[in-house]
């Protein structure tokens, strides 16, 4: 853990070096064009900031020099002095000396002498002529010159993507070597393999870490968005940002940008009431909108919460029936969560009227798709009259996912842990056939159960009605969870939980949306990764 002093020092250094670079640039600009007011103002501001920061850190020499420099740039700005004659070399020396002092702080080295410089700066302030000391030999000075490079590098995300892909390949080979080592039983090979395991593990986390950015880098764009949307919707909205320093993979943040924009616009356009409506409902005239981030185990939770009118479950239920998404008699028995899940169905829009900013015809299904593509989850909670909370559950990183491996017809499959709720083994007596579908009572909830084999082999037609007599012995069931709907999948055998690297399925197999990708196991076998959203949709479309 870094101490606060250390953190301050690092921030001071990186900012001071940045200031020094900018100062060098601006003073050269000023030399070319002494009338460059923008450069002059910047020099004044940079000196001022360096002075304040240096004094706060206790680097008084830097503070003193930058203070004098600031004063002189101020005099030039106010036309009491001009950037000409002997003023120029003194100020150049000043900037160089500041650079040397900043480097000295960074290297814990001794500060360069500043007496002559300070005396000259003082003379300039007093309106006297400075005494220029011509260096005895220019070569000494040239030899002492150092070119400073920043400690930070900007890197194209494309390069990091490539690096991450390579790490993925490496992990697959590593697992293969680990398995071979065990199979061959050679102790030296096993030792080398386990060393390789540790190194690749660390490499993987370092690469993942290099891609992390603060959620704040996206959140901080929202004050402006909220202001504009609120103005055009004639609403009053107070935005609150929380957890800006939570870190997440840069590409994940990129992918959810539009989704977040959409949720925020929706919240203001449809969630938050007008000031008049709010006052009638005994609420403050300004609606509260909160964007927050927090970590939960390996996931990042991003929430968009408003204190507006909330979602009317009954009206969603009616509309779902109207749209033919569900039969009336089934809809009547659905709980509020299951009803709200219809909001994410394609083309389902609750907006009574289409407003300019919340988007025409673009519903929550688009948000849902973006989150699905990341293997994340979208949840909604709402209290009528109290407000709505959308929660995006996102992986911190994209490369490696926790998965549950199982066997079906002697083939290995994987299901991402993000979508698995639990794993159970049930006796046939614990399963019941209701209307042709197997059901089980799991954690106080009735969950439909389907034999994965039957589902994958069902062809184009509907699923055959389940027959209780087909169940022989204990049934191994994986309960998956998607869009607030649970579904149990009967499999042959549970294997283990493992971190896997998912590779996209290549053409022409990429049209089969039941499989989210493939992964290579240590045994060298290809393992298909099931796509839970697609599987759930298939089941809903085909259930008898």
């Amino acid at each position: 853990m870094k101490s606060r002093e250390q953190e301050y020092r690092e921030i001071f250094m990186s900012e001071a070096l940045e200031y020094y670079d900018a100062m060098s640039r601006h003073i050269s600009e000023l030399e070319k064009n002494p009338e460059d007011t923008a450069a002059l103002n910047e020099l004044f501001r940079l000196m001022h900031n360096l002075k304040s920061n240096a004094r706060a850190m206790g680097y008084n020499q830097i503070g003193e020099v930058s203070h004098e420099m600031e004063t002189i740039f101020g005099l030039i700005r106010d036309k009491e002095k001009s950037f000409a004659g002997t003023v120029v070399p003194v100020l150049f020396t000043g900037v160089d000396t500041l650079g040397a002092m900043i480097r000295a702080v960074g290297e814990d080295a001794e500060m360069p002498p500043t007496e002559d410089l300070l005396a000259n700066l003082d003379r300039l302030v007093q309106g006297e002529e400075p005494i220029l000391i011509i260096a005895e030999s220019d070569t000494d000075e040239e030899a002492g010159r150092k070119l400073e490079l920043s400690d930070l590098v900007y890197i194209q995300i494309k390069k990091l993507d490539h690096l991450l892909n390579l790490v993925g390949e490496l992990i697959i080979d590593r697992d293969r070597i680990m398995t071979l080592g065990r199979e061959i039983g050679h102790p030296a090979l096993q030792a080398a393999a386990s060393h390789l395991f540790r190194i690749t593990d660390e490499l993987q986390y370092s690469v993942m870490d290099a891609r992390l950015v603060n959620v704040g880098s996206l959140f901080n764009k929202f004050p402006r968005v909220v202001r504009d949307v609120a103005a055009s919707e004639q609403k009053e909205v107070t935005l609150r940002l929380e957890g800006q320093d939570i870190q997440i993979d840069r590409n994940i943040l990129q992918i959810i940008t539009d989704a977040l924009l959409h949720l925020v616009r929706n919240a203001i356009a449809h969630g938050i009431e007008t000031p008049q409506e709010r006052q009638k409902a005994n609420k403050s005239p300004a609606g509260r909108l909160t964007l927050s981030a927090q970590t939960e185990r390996d996931d990042v939770l991003i929430r968009v919460a408003d204190d507006g009118r909330g979602i009317d479950v009954e009206s969603v239920r009616r509309k779902a029936i109207e749209r033919g998404l569900v039969r009336a008699e089934v809809a009547a028995n659905l709980d509020a969560n299951a009803v709200r899940a219809f909001l994410f169905e394609p083309g389902f829009s609750m907006a009574k009227e289409v407003t300019e900013i919340s988007g025409r015809g673009v519903g929550l299904d688009v948000v849902k798709l973006a989150i699905d593509s990341l293997g994340g989850q979208l949840r909604v909670e709402s209290e009528l009259g109290q407000g709505t909370i959308f929660t995006l559950v996102l992986p911190t990183s994209i490369a490696v996912k926790g998965a549950l491996l199982f066997e079906l017809e002697e083939r290995s499959y994987a299901i991402p842990l993000m979508h698995t709720d639990s794993v159970v083994a049930l006796e046939p007596e614990e399963l019941h056939v209701v209307g042709g579908t197997l059901m089980a009572r799991i954690q106080e909830e009735n969950v439909p159960i389907v034999n994965l084999k039957t589902l994958l082999h069902s062809g184009d037609g509907p699923l055959p009605a389940a027959i209780h007599e087909d169940l022989v012995g204990r049934q191994r069931i994986i309960i998956v969870d998607y869009n607030n709907r649970k579904l149990g999948l009967i499999v042959d055998r549970f294997l283990r939980q493992q971190d896997i690297v998912i590779k996209p399925v290549s053409k022409p197999l990429d049209t089969i949306d039941l499989f989210g990708g493939v992964t290579l196991l240590g045994s060298g076998h290809v393992c298909l990764v099931l796509d839970v959203p697609a599987l759930t949709r298939l089941f809903l479309a085909k259930r008898p």
Partner: protein, 127 residues
């Protein structure tokens, strides 16, 4: 209810230090702005109780920003952050409605004392 504060300063170092001081003392820092435009946007979006405002900003002077803030939110308390030698600007700021000022480099005690009393005055006025 925690008092909510917006920090306006173009130096990341200064913002970090102020944020730590204020958060440690139990205030909620609702945002950080690095220039005048951001300051105005965040003032209307976050509706803070108090703003610490640096005198010199890259796109605007603190005084202009102060006037802009007053238009967006006439009641928010504003504490100017200045350095030695800026007394003239500070005076003008106080006349334009700033509540108080802090002189850099500042100590934690001084910051908390000034922010605390500026907020207390606002509560008395509200009462």
């Amino acid at each position: 209810m925690k008092n909510r504060i917006l920090i306006v300063d173009d130096s990341f170092y200064m913002r970090t230090m102020l944020k730590n001081m204020l958060t440690d003392a139990g205030y909620e820092v609702v945002g950080e702005a690095a220039n005048g435009q951001q300051a105005l946007e965040m003032t209307s979006a976050t509706n803070p109780d108090l703003i610490t405002l640096d005198v010199i900003l890259p796109d605007n002077t603190g005084l202009d920003v102060l006037k802009g803030i007053r238009q967006v939110n006439p009641t928010v308390k504003v504490v100017m952050c200045s350095a030695v030698g800026q007394e003239i600007i500070v005076n003008e700021a106080l006349e334009s409605g700033a509540s108080a000022y802090i002189v850099k480099p500042f100590s934690e005690e001084k910051v908390l004392e000034i922010v605390g009393s500026a907020l207390q005055n606002s509560e008395e006025n509200d009462a």
